[in-house]
């Protein structure tokens, strides 16, 4: 679909070739590689992969491919871009799939499904995060504040810095501006424009100067 929408860009051809190699669609992968072979900068990458396929048609000795194949979901569902099933399936298949976890939590945060976000925080211990990612800390603080409940993650603590930022955010919004979000916008954007507090309040991100 991406080719149909954006044209035969080398970046897309490369990604589609790779995805099809992982899926075992070697015939389709070869066609994408064949098209990529005609481009200027990725021809060598394509030739190298085509030679690999020639030597090992199922790519059974390629460690990266094998590792990715082990993570392919096996539970069949109707794909909807607006549900979390496929990400949960990926994590069921491999609980160390960090990309799936981060997409899942990001999906919950973006769609304000805070209960589900909190429910899945326990998975943090399946990965090698040091502490808790800042945005997650901000979301946890917000959740605790609005739900009047404490969120515990075994072995992990919310940093003092995040707590202080949240308290300051509240002071500015409710103390200085009396909860008038419109009036507080520019001041909050300047300091907290990259925070989840700000996103939750305004639906915008990346506003910090």
């Amino acid at each position: 679909m991406c080719i149909e929408a954006n044209g035969q860009r080398p970046l897309l051809l490369k990604r589609l070739a790779f995805v099809n190699m992982v899926k075992g669609n070697i015939g389709a992968a070869s066609v994408y590689l064949g098209a990529l072979k005609k481009t200027l900068f990725d021809a060598d990458w394509a030739k190298d992969r085509l030679e690999k396929i020639e030597r090992d048609p199922n790519l059974s000795t390629d460690e990266e491919i094998q590792q990715l194949r082990s993570m392919i979901p096996t539970i069949d569902r109707d794909f909807q871009p607006t549900n979390d099933n496929i990400l949960l399936d990926l994590l069921d298949k491999n609980r160390h799939n960090r990309m799936a976890f981060e997409y899942l939590e990001a999906f919950y945060l973006l769609t304000n499904q805070h209960d589900k976000f909190v429910e899945n925080l326990v998975r943090l211990n399946d990965f090698d995060y040091t502490g808790i990612p800042r945005v997650y800390e901000e979301a946890i603080l917000l959740y605790s504040y609005t739900k009047k409940t404490k969120v515990e993650i075994p072995g992990r603590e919310i940093s003092a810095e995040s707590r202080e930022r949240f308290n300051n955010f509240l002071k500015v919004l409710f103390g200085k501006y009396g909860g008038d979000k419109k009036a507080a916008f520019y001041e909050l954007a300047g300091t907290y424009g990259d925070s989840y507090f700000f996103y939750s309040a305004y639906g915008l991100s990346g506003m910090k100067q």
């Binding site: 679909m1 080719i3 149909e4 929408a5 035969q8 099809n20 899926k23 075992g24 669609n25 070697i26 015939g27 389709a28 070869s30 066609v31 994408y32 064949g34 098209a35 072979k37 005609k38 392919i72 979901p73 096996t74 539970i75 069949d76 569902r77 109707d78 794909f79 909807q80 099933n85 496929i86 399936d89």
Partner: protein, 518 residues
């Protein structure tokens, strides 16, 4: 004379090619012999080829620095193709002369490769048989990206001269501002009676009718269509076909039929009709095809499943299996008989789709897949053949699985006008990039190893991001194409038709199966 001088003289007097570049087998006095035949791509080896097909250009998949192929048969002059690369492109004139003189004979390729280690090597001869019967002169197919959904992409209908490599655009969705150009249906493989479905951005779905060099537009949507051999009417399906995607497995895109029925367009009166027998409220009818004599309409039929549309992906969609049925028709009195089962899904265990009768009336080729009506999107779809002559004598519809099937999807087949060739769509080599394959069918119904539709550049398919689908043979080119056809498509003029109902609807439980025409 030194080599340099000779090259100068050659170039100066326009004598090409230069010294040392041309080799013929007579000059190769010393070579090693390898018994096995050389690997070539596409695989044009040990099969039957049409006597009027374009040159079967190929790549030699053997390491070497020079390549020579000697092409010969029983009659006529042998000729040779020399190449500095592994790409073998056969001169059209010599090819056609040789094939024309050798209908029914064997065609041989002797392949010589100059290797770095062993000098010249000769591989075992590749032999194909040249059929006695021609293939239809044209193939009309769609070229499109593998996915047309949800992004509406470019779809083109093309006609290809099978004796050469000339491919002409018939209609293109993007160039001519259409949403989609759909199936094209010929009456008895004749290009002067064609129906073609189009979906227009501003007018909705319409059908183009090309008759004797004149194109018109019918103000109705025709689905899968079949011309009665008389050319007096065409039966078509109306379907409600949602598309969805799987999260697991390689075939990610899928569809099913929520509701369908058959109708027919009468060319003289320009009217659309149906019969209760082919538009039953408790059945889904699709994939109609006429018997060669026009006395029976074959089609696929499944019980109406009340699919739960609240449960993605429509729980139960993969339980729907279609039977093959037929109904008699009396053209003179416009009377339909009773539906009779030819082959039931309960007996085969699989779903039957895309029946196509051979023009001589002898054979019926069809697909079977695990469920549903649309085999191209199912890896397990295979082709089967039924002998209608034997069935007529014994009243038993025996069928067989064809040897030409692969472990990928085979579907979308069409017969040549002489019933000796079938073309079908297969994903056997390039997965989602469907290609058109041609097979010879002998009088006993044996179907021979298929060849992929030949291209001038034998590496063409290796980087072609188009899928080729819905191939249909035609004995000549469609007369109205391109701009001319597009003008008709966008014109305000259309053949207005009254339809018994506009679209199948799933709301059958409310005693209102069909939406009344406005």
């Amino acid at each position: 004379m030194s080599k340099k001088v000779l090259i100068f003289v050659s170039v100066f007097f326009g004598i090409l090619p230069a010294y040392g570049d041309q080799i013929c087998s007579k000059n190769i006095d010393k070579y090693e012999t390898i018994e096995r035949s050389a690997r070539i791509s596409p695989d044009y080896n040990s099969t039957v080829i049409p006597p009027n097909i374009a040159p079967l250009n190929f790549m030699v998949k053997e390491e070497g620095s020079r390549y020579l192929v000697k092409i010969y048969s029983q009659n006529g002059e042998a000729f040779e193709v020399f190449s500095k690369s592994a790409k073998i492109q056969i001169p059209e004139g010599k090819w056609h002369k040789l094939l024309e003189k050798n209908k029914g004979n064997e065609l041989h390729f002797d392949i010589f490769v100059k290797t770095n280690t062993h000098g010249w090597v000769r591989f075992g001869t590749i032999t194909n048989k040249i059929a006695g019967e021609d293939i239809d002169g044209y193939l009309v197919y769609r070229r499109m990206p593998p996915f047309h959904y949800p992004v509406k992409s470019r779809i083109g209908i093309y006609q290809r001269n099978l004796a050469g490599f000339d491919e002409k655009l018939v209609l293109d969705s993007r160039r001519y501002n259409a949403n989609c150009v759909n199936c094209h249906t010929f009456c008895l493989n004749q290009p002067n009676k064609v129906l073609m479905g189009v979906r227009l951005n501003n007018q909705g779905a319409k059908t183009l009718l090309i008759e004797d060099g004149v194109a018109g537009k019918i103000g109705a949507k025709f689905g899968y269509t079949t011309w009665h051999p008389s050319g007096k009417l065409a039966v078509y399906s109306i379907n409600n076909l949602p598309v969805f995607f799987h999260t697991a497995g390689n075939d990610v895109i899928d569809t099913f039929d929520l509701n369908s029925a058959l109708m027919y367009f009468v060319t003289d009166s320009k009217t659309i009709k149906t019969s209760p027998e082919i538009s039953r409220k408790d059945r889904q009818e699709t994939w109609p095809v006429w018997s060669a004599d026009g006395q029976y309409l074959y089609f696929c039929s499944a019980p109406m499943m009340r699919l739960d549309q609240t449960k993605a992906p429509y729980e139960g969609y993969n339980k729907v299996k279609y039977d093959l049925v037929r109904i008699s028709y009396d053209l003179a009195n416009d009377k339909w008989g009773k539906v009779e089962t030819v082959l039931s899904a309960a007996d085969t265990g699989r779903s039957i789709a895309m029946p196509r009768t051979s023009p001589d009336g002898r054979w019926l080729m069809f697909c079977m897949c695990d469920y549903g009506y649309f085999p191209p999107w199912q890896k397990n779809s295979d082709l089967y053949l039924m002998d209608l002559k034997v069935a007529g004598q014994t009243d038993r519809y025996k069928y067989r699985h064809l040897e030409i099937n692969s472990d990928k999807s085979e579907a979308g087949h069409s017969w040549s006008s002489n019933s000796r060739w079938v073309v079908f769509s297969s994903k056997r080599v390039h997965d989602l990039f469907t290609r058109s394959y041609i097979s010879y069918v002998d009088e006993s119904g044996k179907v021979y190893k298929p060849i992929v539709l030949p291209q001038k550049d034998p590496e063409f398919y290796e980087s072609c991001l188009d899928a080729f689908n819905t191939p249909e043979f035609a004995v000549g080119p469609i007369a109205v194409i391109g701009e001319k056809l597009a003008r008709v498509m966008h014109s305000d003029n259309q053949i207005s038709v009254d339809t018994p109902f506009t679209m199948a609807t799933p709301k059958t439980e409310k005693n209102q199966d069909w939406q009344e025409a406005q």
